[in-house]
Point group: C2
């Protein structure tokens, strides 16, 4: 299953034109021909099944065969708030957690954050998220937010059913003990390399956050982030048979 | 908690000398002084608590205060067999899954494997594993094996209680449905980018392997590998309070 980006959300029977960069990829890299079938998404939940009607080096048009809404998207909205780490490592996290199904990524500026993320880096992370969306055959591109401070984090927390904090000072419950598998929205908070300051943890707890341990081994921030999202998706039944009715036919891993 | 490598497995009261590269790191990078306390492991399960007795630019000696066996190591032995992917991406997987607690990593040459791993790359992956062991405060360095073919994989499978195959053709059970949380040894098999050939899947199943889905979103091989290990560790209760009695005091994430 090949997935392309197409901003137009057309309906069955209509004809659509791909943007130039997608057209080049279809015509020159994948060498598709008239009559080939492929999929496109607007990154906002709409998936179109298409049959190519015109394939030129710069212009590719297709006829819409069918349209679906949010196939393969998780039921629950999982947001990852991650303390800012080195931009190249943050991009790797964006790529991985997009494939795993997050709805949003919130770069977090905490008291102990050392690295910085400029506007161009955030733009680049958005492009990484869009590519990872296509590769993973998702139909929604996660929202990569501008970096927020602690107040912004608390604003986001207020909109989520559950706020869970990966905290190395926590020797008690694991995620399995605090995550509600039926939750509709979960905010996962993972600190930067320097960890959270105790007063930050207290502010989060006062706002309703529950902390959890990730075990006795020390994890780098980017590994903690990917593992936390994978574990949350497992507990939310997003990685088992309950959600695999429409797996794309091409191999995934 | 700082963890260094020391091949000698000494007992309490003895005096030990660090190898030159660790000595330089202790003296010059971390600027430790006589009387400072730190930890060292031989990578084979022995952890020593040490007090520095002599700190020179090339020579660092310490007195052994205490000795423990396999602290912070998982109860279950989890082996990751991963179809060979680009060496730099494979190294990232080695770093992450070492932190997450795997006992061994098996590079797997399958029918659809495109990338190659030379001997020097395997050596480099072993150094990555050793560094990740120290950073994560583990006391066992995972075994990074020479690449094996399908017969070698079946040999390894014969020594494991459970063999679980992440298979994109599986639309039914997830890992939660097939992994026994009480298993003493688990072999997780994740294919390369090209996936497994159907006859390879059949050979693995005939050898007792059970396949599982990782959900409807397509995962790149390296993301599938890290997520599979994180999910297995979660199901084995290696990432919750049951195992966090002796978390190191320094922040992990």
């Amino acid at each position: 299953m090949e997935m392309y980006f197409l901003a137009d959300a057309a309906t069955a029977g209509e004809r659509v034109a791909f943007p130039a960069d997608e057209a080049r990829h279809i015509a020159r890299v994948c060498r598709h021909r008239v009559g080939d079938r492929l999929f496109a998404t607007d990154g906002a939940g709409c998936e179109l099944e298409l049959e190519l009607a015109e394939v030129g080096p710069e212009t590719v048009q297709a006829r819409v065969l069918g349209r679906r809404t949010r196939p393969r998207e998780p039921r629950a909205r999982v947001t990852l708030a991650l303390g800012i780490i080195r931009p190249d490592r943050f991009e790797t996290v964006v790529e991985a957690v997009t494939q795993l199904g997050v709805a949003a990524i919130l770069p977090l500026q905490t008291g102990r954050t050392v690295a910085r993320l400029g506007g161009s880096r955030v733009e680049r992370m958005r492009r990484v998220a869009l590519e990872a969306m296509k590769c993973s055959t998702r139909t929604v591109a996660p929202d990569v937010a501008e970096p927020v401070g602690f107040d912004g984090l608390l604003d986001s927390a207020a909109g989520c059913e559950q706020v869970l904090l990966a905290y190395e000072g926590e020797h008690g419950p694991g995620m399995v003990d605090v995550l509600d598998p039926e939750a509709g929205s979960v905010l996962l908070v993972v600190g930067p390399e320097g960890g959270f300051a105790p007063e930050e943890v207290e502010r989060l707890r006062a706002a309703g956050a529950r902390s959890f341990s990730m075990g006795p081994r020390r994890l780098r921030a980017e590994v903690a982030a990917v593992a936390a999202v994978a574990n949350a998706m497992q507990l939310l039944h997003e990685m088992d048979g309950a959600r695999t009715a429409d797996v794309p036919e091409r191999r995934c891993y």
